[in-house]
């Protein structure tokens, strides 16, 4: 799957798992935080995305010490991290071009 087809919820979920493994509720809270409160994922959307990411082997289950109810943790795989880096590079390049174009228009 080409990494350029990432939707914003999926990108936020991957970013949430980039620094450490997280369980479902922690991912919901973190995606809200890193989007500045703009994106609030529902549980259905989250688990739909998690299942697809597991199928694509971008993330994997992580055996944390707290495996009680609703506490299954997930973490990025090497492939998921690589694809996230490609996506972030693409966004950075696009952002740079957009900034240059807008600066040219304003001047």
């Amino acid at each position: 799957m080409p990494p350029s087809l990432l939707s914003e919820p999926v990108l936020l979920i991957l970013l949430s798992l980039a620094d450490q493994p997280r369980h479902g509720y922690a991912i919901l809270q973190d995606t809200r935080k890193i989007s500045g409160g703009r994106v609030r994922l529902s549980t259905g959307t989250l688990y739909g995305a998690l299942r697809r990411l597991l199928d694509e082997k971008w993330i994997e289950r992580y055996e944390a010490s707290d495996t009680s109810r609703g506490k299954q943790a997930y973490r990025l795989t090497a492939a998921g991290r690589r694809n996230l880096q490609v996506e972030v590079s693409r966004m950075r390049q696009l952002s740079r071009v957009a900034s240059l174009r807008l600066a040219g228009t304003e001047s």
Binding site: M1, S4, L5, L6, S7, E8, V10, G24, Y25, L28, R40, L41, S42, T43, G44, T45, L46, Y47, G48, R51, R52, E56, S68, R69, G70, K71, Q72, L94
Partner: protein
């Protein structure tokens, strides 16, 4: 609210529930508990978001179980890329979700009725139609026509949103004319 969430999670396919139901209910409980100290508009927004998310998720997982793929691309990007292939408009997804829920509820109701009837070896006689008066019959036809009209309108609206009606006005040489005009030969 948790009872409603449980019912909505029960709409997912059994294979999906086996894997994720416990986790999802745990997260829903935590979200619900966190919302207790918030104002009612925030609680209402959360309930609406969770309900729509669960309905949509159940529809997508049933679709996947039946068709082998998701009704929308796996990772759609609606912000920074344009896709030329057909895309389900939101109205179609909503309509299909309503139909799916109606089918599931009907199946569950039928199961409950069949379980409530005790097994009997007595022969059941021929079922005769109940007499229906003119006014009730007219009302039934009227309601049926209204329902068909609404469904038809929804389908036409969905097709219009998808832009399919514009295909008939597309000429094969239209693109070439446009390119010539723009100096892109």
């Amino acid at each position: 609210m948790l009872t409603i969430y449980r019912v909505l999670v029960a709409l997912y396919p059994s294979s999906y529930r086996l894997e994720y139901e416990e986790e999802m209910l745990g997260v829903l409980e935590q979200s619900n508990a966190e919302s207790h100290d918030k104002e009612w508009p925030a609680r209402l927004a959360l309930a609406g978001r969770e309900t729509m998310g669960l309905l949509r998720g159940a529809f997508e997982e049933h679709f996947r179980a039946l068709a082998g793929f998701y009704p929308v691309p796996v990772f759609p990007n609606r912000r920074t890329s344009m896709r030329s292939e057909f895309r389900f408009p939101k109205t179609t997804v909503t309509l299909m979700t309503i139909i799916l829920v109606a089918i599931i509820v009907t199946i569950e109701k039928a199961k409950a009725i069949s379980q409530s009837i005790p097994p009997s070896s007595t022969q059941v006689g021929p079922i005769r139609p109940e007499y229906v008066g003119v006014v009730p019959a007219f009302l039934i036809v009227l309601v049926g026509a209204c329902v068909l009209g609404v469904v038809g309108w929804a389908i036409l609206f969905a097709l219009q949103r998808s832009g399919m009606h514009r295909l008939s006005s597309v000429h094969p040489d239209a693109g070439q004319t446009k390119s010539t005009t723009l100096g892109l030969k």
